[in-house]
């Protein structure tokens, strides 16, 4: 019994399992020359390397936010150790300075004073109405907040320089580790590797500058209840990753199993599977998801005793949303796999295997499935960006994640009326949209690269 109690939420398990599975799949396929060639073809595209760097950053943030624990409370009278009800993640600890000094309400990015006027009290009496001084924003500047411009410039430059230094140190360490292959300054690197390196440098500069600024200011401002918007956007990343990744984990087994069986066996099995997916396909997606989510809500509402903490409840809802999205979106991939299996079934090597008396299960596993993997991989990366975008829309409609879960959708939903204010509060929306845009753009670029590298028809 230490000062912490680790907490494993279901989505943590799933996300960590997924990462382990991905690494394992990569290690297992190391020997496959054809597939390695395809990966190398993909990595030769500048768009792919840059988006991989960006996605790795997002994945890192999401992973830090997926290690949860509860702090021990001060020892109680009976001598036992109790833990706080609040579930924290490693990311929360790293961002602690942003959490410790919440403001009262809106404040603009990098501001020292609040955005709306309030009564100023001094020595017990109300002095007048003015913009109150922020608790965290520029707190080191003193009461008046003078010298803000200079301070920001110094922090910006210092942070960027520190970021660059760390990036170069990392690169130097990596080069020494690999035995000093490439020359300094990026010479001798391919165009794609240079693009990736450049992307890494830009990322390092941005992270450095934002970190330096965040120590003294609210970089993206604060929202209506005074929460730091930078904190909210970083927390949203995990939700987006979970929706984008876990949903495909639900989709893949169903789509692969049904698609292959329908295509290979044919006959009444094929008719039945086609019937099922036509039925699901014919219901407009949002409505089917809405119906399923509404029903899931009823289950959760009527069984409050299932969940120990609010975090577990929100987590169960997030997981259920992934399952629902997966159950409603496997039809497209299933149809593709069925069509491809129909073609593969007639090829000579499959016919030969059948003539030799190889069992159906073995044929499917050894001869059919490997030749479908490129379709699966392409669908996986292409669906990711669509799902991240869908989460925002679903949360707006009210059938997305739990309102207490921080996500791009809940952020946008909470801030949707802010532009109508006068003067407009733009930073929450802008931060959510920009961070989401970068994630989706990187995923889309990666999807393009994967498709061109793995699709035999595109070559």
């Amino acid at each position: 019994m230490g000062a912490f109690q680790p907490v494993l939420l279901w989505t943590d398990v799933a996300l960590l399992g997924l990462l382990a599975g991905g690494i394992a799949a990569g290690v297992l396929q190391r020997g496959d020359a054809l597939r390695r060639a395809a990966w190398q073809r993909m990595l030769a595209r500048p768009g792919a390397t840059v988006s991989l760097v960006v996605l790795a950053f997002y994945l890192g943030v999401g992973m830090l936010d997926s290690v949860h624990f509860r702090r021990a409370l001060p020892a109680s009278a009976d001598g036992g150790v109790h833990y706080a009800a609040r579930v924290e993640s490693v990311l929360d600890v790293l961002l602690a300075p942003l959490l410790e000094n919440p403001e009262k309400t809106y404040s603009a990015p990098l501001a020292t004073h609040a955005f709306v006027k309030d009564n100023i009290e001094r020595d017990g009496g109300v002095v007048g109405r003015d913009f109150p001084r922020l608790n965290h924003g520029g707190a080191h500047l003193g009461v008046g907040g003078d010298g803000r411009g200079g301070d920001i410039a110094v922090r910006l430059a210092g942070g960027a320089a520190a970021g660059l230094a760390v990036a170069f140190a990392l690169a130097a360490g990596l080069r020494r580790l690999r035995g000093g292959g490439a020359a300094a300054g990026g010479q001798g690197l391919s165009r794609a590797a240079r693009a990736g390196w450049l992307g890494f440098l830009v990322l390092a500069v941005v992270i450095g500058a934002v970190t330096a600024l965040a120590a003294g200011y609210h970089v993206f401002g604060t929202d209506k209840v005074g929460q730091d918007v930078l904190y909210l956007t970083l927390k949203s990343v995990r939700t987006a990753l979970i929706i984008g990744l876990l949903t495909t984990v639900v989709t893949l087994p169903i789509a692969i199993a049904l698609g292959i069986t329908a295509g290979y066996l044919g006959g009444w099995v094929d008719d039945l599977i086609q019937y099922i997916y036509t039925v699901i396909n014919s219901i407009p997606g949002v409505l089917l998801i809405a119906a399923a989510v509404l029903m899931m809500q009823v289950v959760i509402e009527t069984h409050p005793d299932w969940f120990a903490t609010a975090a577990e409840r929100a987590d169960a809802r997030l997981l259920a949303l992934c399952v629902i999205l997966g159950m409603t979106s496997w039809t497209g991939l299933c149809r593709l796999l069925r069509a491809e299996t129909l073609k593969l079934r007639e090829l000579e090597y499959v016919q030969a295997a059948r003539a030799f008396g190889v069992g159906t299960a073995l044929i499917l596993r050894r001869h059919v499935l490997p030749n479908l993997m490129h379709i699966v991989l392409i669908a996986l990366v292409m669906d990711f960006s669509a799902l991240v975008l869908a989460e925002a829309v679903l949360s707006y409609v009210g059938i997305g994640v739990d309102p207490s879960t921080i996500s791009f959708g809940t952020m946008i939903n909470a801030a949707r009326m802010e532009l109508a204010r006068d003067p407009a509060v733009w930073w929450s929306l802008a931060a959510a949209f920009v961070v989401m845009f970068v994630l989706v753009l990187a995923a889309n670029l990666l999807a393009d690269a994967v498709r061109e590298a793995f699709d035999p028809r595109a070559a």
Partner: protein, 325 residues
């Protein structure tokens, strides 16, 4: 052709039955009407009488499949399944949970939905085809690369951004159009311009990029090379030959959504206060009005099946080689 249509309609019946069973399963088997009543009335402090009342008011007090208390055919008809699900085949949707007639509501709200959806669809198709033709005309040039990058960037922007930002910029900052609302009739056009423009923009990136690949696929065909060899100008090749042939795959993707235009757009209608079916659906979802959601699921799948049949027919119209047997 006629025999084909009849067969398609007959095929549609089991699919609709499947949809009906699936929704019934979701709404009445996953949770019993008691669960739903308990949630609607608030989970704590709820009496059995209140639940009974709630169920009786809405007709959920009947047994689910077979009513043993009744005689003859009423054993089947006096059940939730028959009253709530089977009657949808006769377009009898009953009343929503707040007591209004769903069929009448749908009839009233169809007009505003179409007033947004039809112009958005036509202009969106036109803009996407024009933009992709432009990129294809200047293919493999810097303009083409920039255009594709623009398409990918536009695809990566959330549709919520187009709506929120567009509404703020055009209606609030520039004050060109009213922020939201609808009056009905021809005089409502100022309310419709902005939603339509935003709808076109939001869909442009994905469809333009897709059409571009279709056009490029077509441009590599032999007949295009023959036409060029005969000295036909690039413009005529593109507009007369490539466009016509590429319309076939474009139509497949597009015709299927035409009937679904009736359903309206969830987001745009809700942001712009258009009293259409999209905002009706959103309000029903947010108020957890299960009767309305069930009806909309049924109508949506019916329209989707109509769209599939229309797609087949459109093949024969644009491509004389296709015969429906």
């Amino acid at each position: 052709m006629f025999a084909y249509l009849v067969r398609r309609v007959v095929y549609a019946v089991p699919i609709l039955i499947g949809v009906n069973l699936l929704t019934f399963l979701l709404f009445f088997v996953v949770n019993t009407p008691d669960d739903i009543a308990r949630m609607q009335l608030g989970v704590k402090r709820v009496t059995p009488e209140a639940i009974d009342n709630w169920k009786r008011e809405r007709g959920y007090h009947l047994p689910r499949f077979v009513n043993m208390r009744e005689q003859g055919s009423r054993r089947i008809t006096e059940t939730i399944f028959f009253q709530k699900s089977a009657r949808m085949f006769a377009f009898d949707f009953g009343a929503s949970d707040d007591g209004r007639d769903i069929a009448r509501e749908i009839g009233q709200r169809m007009g505003p939905s179409l007033a947004i959806a039809v112009p958005t669809f036509i202009l969106g198709l036109f803009a996407a085809v024009c933009f992709s033709l432009l990129l294809v005309f200047f293919r493999a040039s810097r303009l083409d690369v920039a255009g594709v990058v623009l398409c990918v960037a536009m695809m990566s922007i959330s549709s919520l951004f187009y709506i929120i930002f567009g509404q703020w910029l055009v209606a609030k900052v520039w004050q060109l159009v009213p922020i939201s609302g609808y009056v009905g009739g021809l005089s409502s056009w100022p309310f419709l311009v902005l939603p339509v423009v935003i709808g076109v923009f939001a869909g442009l990136g994905a469809s333009a990029r897709w059409y571009r690949t279709l056009f490029l696929e077509e441009i590599g065909r032999d007949y295009v090379r023959t036409a060029r060899a005969k000295g036909v100008s690039e413009r005529v090749v593109l507009f007369r030959h490539v466009l016509k042939n590429a319309m076939i795959p474009i139509l497949t993707g597009v015709v299927v959504v035409i009937p679904l235009l009736f359903m309206g757009s969830l987001l745009i209608e809700s942001f712009f206060g258009i009293p259409g079916l999209g905002s009706y659906t959103i309000e029903a979802i947010q108020a957890q009005d299960f009767a309305v959601v069930r009806s909309m699921v049924f109508i949506g799948s019916l329209l989707y099946i109509v769209g599939l049949v229309l797609t087949d027919i459109s093949y024969t119209v644009v491509d004389p080689r296709v015969r429906l047997e």
